[in-house]
């Protein structure tokens, strides 16, 4: 099995680590940052080969992935289309972690026929959420006769004495999501709500407990209504933000620190967002310095044998556990592991789907079983009335 990973940040390192430990897997990792490449090489005990690569360069990407069975984009969603194009060209299966935008996702899905024709599969958004969340939603839907509502709640809560503001995945993506209008699906159409709206205190299972969550735009809201075999009437996504984080985000927004337009200061011209990002610690450097848990909750409501039924699927992991077992933070672990599970299943021929798909198209029961072997324990709670 030959696998390529583009991006050796927090998530890329988790993915590469899992792939490196698999029998008969040859792993190549590309990144623009040499120190990150050194880290991933050392962590794998030299079992992965590394290449300095600029994901903006199609030739470099093409050269890296040539001869691979599967390529994973773990760098940034803005490179999805470029890497996907190279993968199709080189006849390599493709996996990414999230869409760059709803428009970008639809542009990717429109290539379905080409990928089917070449016997290839492109799996979009195969991380924690999107990713594992979609799979859990599919599992719930499979067990019902009819689906009415799907609610996805990301309950990641971290605190740190060292850092006043923590982003445990790409900070710019996180900040952008937080201040963009949120989308939800209702009555057959996608609707919009204001940024940081829909605040409620949501009851997650322990150890997370009750946390404040806010509406966010997320890939699941766009793909689930399209790809699920039984159509839900309602789909939404909310993300947990501690009051401190929510205030910090409102602060950045209010002061104009999220602007992308470059501003002249003295002899330099840089955007406020780039200055802010330079001051935020990257996710790969936070491991071991934070307390709290990562977790997702997927609630699927519908009907089974004439009775109303609610299923709650949940996965959690504490940052302490992720650090002591895997030297990473729980969010990076829960994001990168489903990707690695999917890549290994794909390379070993255990995924039959072809074309451009979302994670809810996979065999959910099989996926959840395989993920269990990588310390991802999905808990299920069923209620009928």
């Amino acid at each position: 099995m030959k696998l390529s990973v583009i991006g050796a940040g927090g998530v890329g390192q988790v993915i590469a680590g899992h792939l490196a430990r698999a029998k008969e897997a040859t792993v190549k990792v590309g990144d623009i940052d040499r120190s990150r490449l050194r880290e991933v090489s050392e962590a794998s005990g030299g079992r992965v080969s590394t290449v300095r690569l600029d994901a903006r360069n199609p030739d470099q990407v093409g050269r890296l992935i040539k001869g691979s069975n599967v390529v994973i984009n773990a760098s940034h969603p803005r490179f999805n289309q470029l890497i996907m194009h190279q993968a199709l060209k080189r006849k390599v299966h493709y996996i990414d972690l999230a869409g760059y935008s709803p428009t970008d996702i639809f542009a990717q899905t429109k290539q379905d026929a080409k990928w089917k024709k070449d016997g290839l599969v492109a799996i979009l958004g195969m991380g924690e959420d999107p990713g594992l969340s979609n799979v859990m939603a599919r599992r719930g839907v499979d067990m019902l006769d009819r689906v009415s509502e799907i609610r996805i709640r990301d309950g990641e809560t971290s605190t740190s004495e060292t850092f006043p503001f923590i982003a445990l995945f790409a900070p710019d993506v996180f900040l952008e999501e937080a201040v963009s209008p949120a989308h939800y699906f209702e009555g057959g159409e996608t609707k919009t709500s204001p940024p940081m709206s829909g605040r409620e205190i949501y009851p997650f299972p322990q150890p997370i407990g009750d946390v404040p969550v806010y509406s966010m735009d997320h890939d699941e809201v766009h793909t689930l209504p399209l790809y699920l075999p039984k159509k839900p009437n309602y789909v939404d996504f909310k993300l947990a933000l501690t009051d401190e984080t929510a205030s910090a985000i409102k602060l950045f927004h209010g002061l104009g620190l999220l602007e992308r337009k470059p501003m002249r200061v003295g002899t330099t011209k840089v955007s406020p967002l780039s200055v802010l990002l330079s001051l935020l610690p990257p996710p790969s450097q936070i491991a071991g310095k934070i307390r709290g848990n990562a977790g997702i909750l997927v609630e699927v409501k519908g009907e089974l044998s004439g009775k109303r039924c609610l299923q709650r699927f949940c996965v959690t992991m504490s940052h302490d556990e992720a650090y002591s077992k895997f030297r990473t933070n729980a969010t990076s672990y829960l994001t990168g592991t489903p990707t690695a599970v999917c890549a290994l299943m794909l390379a070993a021929g255990r995924i039959e789907n072809r074309g451009v798909i979302a994670p809810e198209c996979l065999n959910a029961e099989r996926f959840i079983d395989e993920a269990r072997m990588f310390d991802i324990q999905v808990q299920v709670e069923k209620t009928r009335w």
Partner: protein, 397 residues
């Protein structure tokens, strides 16, 4: 009177120019480091035809002296950042002009006072630290001391806020650069007759302000009042403290900005460029201020700046306390924010210097040269409301 205003495009400077023109019909030369900035500030306040506008860097002593001499100004008001105080004062000595500024953030204040002899010899007056705080607060200290035979302790508390339902994070009402300095530099208080350094944001105490503010939690912050008041109030004043009660949203804002590293001046790599975080933040602040100044004025009183000054001492063998409550709301009629409590005092003192109401040559803090009662009445005309409370203790034993 003819006045040169430095830093006239800033948060305070523009309003100081406005006060000089509207209350004293002064001939004003409004200047700032960038001509476009001061032009916009004057245009926003509809003063373009009523003042002379020029580009001038307050840190360039030679240029400031040259202009002050050429224009034969009576007074100079420095509303630029306190790092320019010493160079501006130097220029005034060369030009023979009286001087006032908004404060020297403790260290610069003490340096400025060291030039007292030089200014005495030049026959001109510098009354420094004449904003709201320092400024109104120092004068209140002097006013209270005047009512007592002995002064033991002066405690000063400062807060601001608004009565809007939603507390959104935003830029502070004074220079973000100064805010970051306040959050990173150890405050120095006058305790037991000595300057004593304190940890950042220590000295937490709850104090009751007038309605609608009520109880606030305040912290020691580095400020100029403890630098000068112990010595210049006299009457045995052993303790002078200064505290700020930050509105909770602002406290969270400033703490977050500081812990992210925005207070640092060391350059960091941002892409291919190198950027000093504090310089970047300051530029953003200046743009935000400039942008908001042109907006439509609010229609009711909703935001305020408030101070409480407690002077403890003795009168007729008994303990006595004088308290000043000073509150300034935004002025809906004139469309001016509460920041005028900082912009008006230097305009007022500048006029007193020009008309020889303040005439002692030398360098002084406000408590030494400003006559409190006429001062309070004059600022009262701009709806900066000063209220005095006097408590005398009577012992029946």
């Amino acid at each position: 009177m003819k006045t040169l205003v430095l830093g006239a495009s800033g948060q305070i400077g523009a309003y100081t120019v406005q006060d000089l023109v509207e209350f004293y019909k002064a001939e004003v030369i409004a200047t700032s480091r960038k001509l476009t900035n001061v032009r916009k500030a004057m245009a926003d306040l509809k003063l373009v035809d009523r003042v002379k506008i020029m580009e001038l860097d307050a840190s360039n002593t030679a240029d400031v002296a040259k202009l002050a001499k050429a224009e034969r100004v009576d007074t100079v008001v420095n509303c630029a950042w306190y790092q320019t105080n010493l160079s501006a004062m130097d220029a005034c000595v060369q030009a023979g002009a009286h001087y006032t500024d908004l404060g020297g953030f403790f260290d610069t204040t003490l340096k400025q006072l060291q030039f007292d002899q030089k200014w005495k010899e030049a026959g001109i007056n510098a009354t420094i630290g004449l904003g709201s705080t320092p400024g109104l607060t120092n004068v209140a200290g002097a006013a209270g001391a005047a009512k007592l035979e002995r002064v033991d302790t002066i405690n000063i508390y400062c807060t601001w806020g608004n009565t809007l339902p939603a507390k959104e994070p935003g830029w502070p009402g004074y220079s973000i650069r100064t805010v970051m300095d306040e959050f990173t530099q150890e405050p120095v208080m006058w305790l037991d007759g000595k300057h004593v350094k304190q940890p950042v944001l220590s000295g937490e105490t709850t104090v009751t302000m007038q309605d609608p503010i009520g109880k606030i939690t305040t912290y020691y912050v580095k400020h100029s009042e403890p630098a000068t008041m112990g010595r210049y109030i006299g009457k045995g004043c052993r303790n002078v403290t200064f505290r700020i009660g930050f509105p909770s949203t602002d406290l969270a804002t400033f703490k977050t900005l500081k812990s992210l590293g925005f207070a640092d001046s060391t350059e960091i790599p941002v892409g291919d460029a190198r950027v000093s975080p504090i310089d970047y933040l300051t530029t953003m602040y200046q743009r935000a201020i400039s942008k908001s100044r042109g907006e439509a004025p609010p229609r009711e009183e909703y935001e305020y700046d408030a101070f409480r000054i407690d002077i403890f001492g003795q009168l007729r063998e008994s303990p006595a306390m004088v308290t000043y409550h000073i509150i300034t709301w935004n002025d809906p009629e004139r469309g001016i924010s509460s920041a005028r409590d900082t912009a008006v005092p230097p305009s007022l003192v500048s006029q007193w210097q020009a008309t020889r109401k303040i005439k002692n040559p030398g360098v002084f803090p406000a408590e030494a040269t400003v006559d409190p009662i006429p001062f309070f009445m004059e600022v009262g005309k701009r709806k900066i409301r000063v209220e005095e409370h006097f408590t005398e203790t009577r012992r029946f034993y």
